[in-house]
C-alpha cells in the first residue's frame, strides 16, 4: 500500500532531505539527522511512503535498494546481482546444509526473504554467508532429544530464521517453528523426495523413508 505523494521527489540520492521526523518515521534507505530532526535519503532510488499502521504512529519513508542489472536474473521471481544482500536478524532465509555435526549444522545462506511490507519474495545473496543451526535451535519441543543427523543431511535446502548475528563468521539460525525446516531434500538414491510427515520425507521412486526436520508446506 505504498503511495508516492507529490511532496516526495521522484528520485532521491544520498543526503537529500525528504521530510521532517515530526510527520514521518525513517525506514530502510533513509536516516534521521538528529540535530535538525530531518529525514534524509541514504540510497539512490525512488522514495516511497508507507501509511501508518498499528506499530507505527507516523507514515514511514523508505527507499527500496535498486539492484543493478536485474536483466541477468535467470529466475524471474528473484533479484540476482553482484550487489549483496545481508541476512538480517528476524529475516526468513533459505540456506543449504554443508556439514552436519553432533552439536550443530553448518549451512550457507543463499537468499534472504523480504518482509511483508516490502512485498514478499526473496533477495538472492551475491555471496554465500556462513550460518549455523545449533542443536537446541532445531526444534521447539524436546530439545534435549534432538539429533542433528536425524534432522538434516548435507545438500538439503532449509528454511530458517536468523536469530542473531552470531560470532565472527557464522549467523545463528533457528528452525524451531512448524513452517521452518528442510524444504527440499534428495534421497540416498538421488531422487528428490516429498514430505510425508513432520519428521519424514519419502522417495517417490524407491519408497524409502528418511528422517528430516520437515518444514510445514504452505
Amino acid at each position: 500500500m505504498a503511495t508516492t505523494t507529490t511532496t516526495l521527489p521522484p528520485l532521491a540520492y544520498p543526503g537529500l532531505p525528504l521530510g521532517s521526523s515530526t510527520t514521518y518515521t525513517s525506514g530502510p534507505g533513509t536516516y534521521l539527522h538528529v540535530p535538525t530532526s530531518t529525514i534524509h535519503a541514504s540510497l539512490a532510488g525512488q522514495p516511497h511512503l508507507h501509511p501508518a499502521n498499528a506499530s507505527t504512529s507516523k507514515p514511514t519513508l523508505t527507499i527500496p535498494r535498486l539492484l543493478p542489472s536485474p536483466t541477468h536474473a535467470p529466475i524471474p521471481s528473484a533479484n540476482i546481482s553482484n550487489a549483496n544482500t545481508l541476512p538480517r536478524v528476524g529475516a526468513v532465509v533459505l540456506c543449504r546444509v554443508v556439514r552436519v555435526r553432533t552439536r550443530q549444522v553448518d549451512v550457507v545462506v543463499l537468499a534472504v526473504g523480504r518482509g511483508e511490507e516490502e512485498g514478499g519474495g526473496e533477495d538472492v545473496c551475491g555471496d554465500e554467508w556462513q550460518g549455523v543451526v545449533r542443536r537446541e535451535d532445531v526444534r521447539a519441543t524436546e530439545k534435549e532429544k534432538v539429533l542433528c543427523a536425524e534432522g538434516f543431511r548435507v545438500g538439503d535446502v532449509v528454511r530458517g530464521v536468523v536469530i542473531s548475528l552470531g560470532d565472527q563468521s557464522n549467523y545463528y539460525l533457528s528452525t524451531a517453528r512448524n513452517e521452518l525446516g528442510v524444504i527440499m531434500a534428495k534421497s540416498e538414491a538421488g531422487n528428490t523426495m516429498v514430505p510425508v510427515s513432520w519428521k519424514e520425507f519419502r522417495d517417490p521412486v524407491t519408497g524409502e523413508r528418511e528422517s528430516r526436520k520437515v518444514a510445514k508446506p504452505f
Binding site: Y13, P14, G15, S42, L66, L67, S69
Partner: protein, 312 residues
Amino acid sequence: MTDRRRINGPPSGTSPPVFASSLSSKVFPAKRKRAPDELRKIFLKTGLTPSASGSAYLELEPSTPTAAHKSLATKAPALKLTCTVHGPRPLPRSAPFSPQLSLSTRIKFAPFAARQRKGYVPDAGERDLAAHLETALRGVLIGERWPKSGVDVVVTVLEGGEDALWNRGQSSDGGRTGGWGMMSILSGCITVASAAIIDAGIDCIDVVTGGVAAIVRQPTAPPQVFIDPCPADQEEIYATCVVGYLQTRDEITELWTKGNVTLSIDLGFEHLLDQAVEAAVAARLVLIEAIKESTEIKVQTSRIGHPKNAAS
C-alpha cells in the same frame, strides 16, 4: 621495494624520440585558459563494470596545448580514473567480529598511467593516497547497516600524474612540482569512489565530492587562488588544498594541505579552503546528475525488483 616476481619494463621512460627540428612552431607549455574559478570539464558515468557491485568512471579533459597540435609530445594528459566497489561481502574467516562495515581502499596507477612507469606493487605514494581516500569515505558510509561485512573500493588511475611536459626533458622534475598532481588525483578519486559506492547501493549520509584549490604565483600580479589546478599547466604552485566535502551537512571528511600557505597574507588558509570547497560543490552537480541518470535506468529496468515500483 623492488618487484622481483615479474618481468618489468624499463623503469624510466619508453618514450619515442622527439625531434625538435621537425616542429615548425615553438612548443610552449600549456597555459591555463580557464578562469580562476572554473573547473576542467568532468565526464562521469556509473555502472560500467558488470562484474562489480558498483562502479564509476571519471575523466577530466586535458588542458589544451597552445601550439603544435600535431605534435604528440605536447599532448597534455587527461585524468582518467575508474573505480570498482566489491561487496558488501563476508569478512574472511580469520577476521574478528565487526559490528560495522569494514572499508578497504586501494589506489593503483596503471603501469602506463604516467610517463614514469609504475610497478605492480603499490608504492608509498599509492598507499598514502588510499589512506586519504579511506578517511574521505569512512565519514559518509553508514557502517552500522552492514554488520559483519567488508567492502573493497579499488581505484585504477588509467591516465594522470604527469607533473611536467614531455619536451621539458624533466619527467620527475626533481621533486619541485612533484606531488601537486597527486592532490588533483585524490580529489578525482574521492568523487569517482563516491559515485561507485552509491551505485553499489551502500547507505551513505550524503554525497561526498572532492575539490582542489591552489595558490599560484603570477608573473606580474600578486599570487592568486585557482581552483582545480592542472599539473600540465606548468604553474608555479605555492600551496594546494584538497577537501572531501558534504554539501547537505556542510561537513568536511577529508582535508589535505601541502605547501606554504602563509606566503601571502590576504590569501590565507581559510580562503584556500573555501575555494577547494567551491570546487567540490561544483563537482557535486556532475555527480548528482550521473547518479540520477543511472538510477533512472535502474528504475526502468527493474521490472521485477520491488513490485510496487511498477505502480509509479
